[in-house]
Amino acid sequence: MEVKITLDALDVSSVSVRYQSFLEDGGIGCAVGEPHRRAFVNSERGRSEIAAELPEPYLSAVMAVWGDSATVEEPDVPGGEV
């Protein structure tokens, strides 16, 4: 069983990482089960999380787009709170 990783909706602020299991039968890859996803945002926390979870070369691909610093702030208080 092979897990294929796809970087989806990659921009300077976020990325959705898609994991899909595949079985190869007679040279043809067949998707097994449903995909699993996790989004990361380009915040300080998001950068450390994706560095710990996403393998190469996908991590370098994301960091090439995200650059050297976070662009998303995670506020202490939710934006809509009154």
């Binding site: 909706a9 959705s16 449903e34 995909p35 996803r37 996790r38 989004a39 709170e81």
Partner: protein, 216 residues
Amino acid sequence: MDSGFLRLARRVKEAEEAVGRYFSGGTISVGNGAKLADRNVGNTMFLEGLQNPDSGYINFSRYSGNALGAVNGGNLTWRGSRVWDAAGLPYETGTWTPYLYGATTAGSPTYHSRTGGLYVRIGSLCFIALTIYITARGGMAGTLRIGGLPFAAAGGPGNGIVGGAVHGHSSGKVTGQLDGGLNYMSLQKETGVFTASDLPSDTFAIWGMSGVYKIN
């Protein structure tokens, strides 16, 4: 009297008519279950050479209107009464893993195996449902957040959701607020944010939640 050349030309013309590529309105007739392309052999099947975008369509029934076609400048559109506009694509279902953490101190809570989530993406909308079930706080502090969403919310105001808990333990019911551009929901109780100290003393909490938000 026809020459051999003219007879040959006539036969070529008849053959071209038979496969429907010479005269306008020509058709290719195939039997029930016939394939135009074998998916086990070729990787791609093309339907091309259409100069009028309003004429390019595949009809799925004997009646007009139940067709997938390129109309209005070439956008791929369902033309039938059961309309699925091109803006509705793509469609995907899958799973995601929700996790709980504190905004002040993330902590490492202990999860029950029933924790999990599913999503349905329809174009730029994402429906999520989740069950999160912890048996120990694991040092969390501050406003509790649910992370691990399958997609980040689109940026800007109004793109997030407030997902309601349909079931809660003695800590009470919560809602989750997802702000634009982020990938986590901040938990809220009726009177403000829901913090780690709002968890019940037996450290057991379970919530089922669902909601919809806009993605890029």
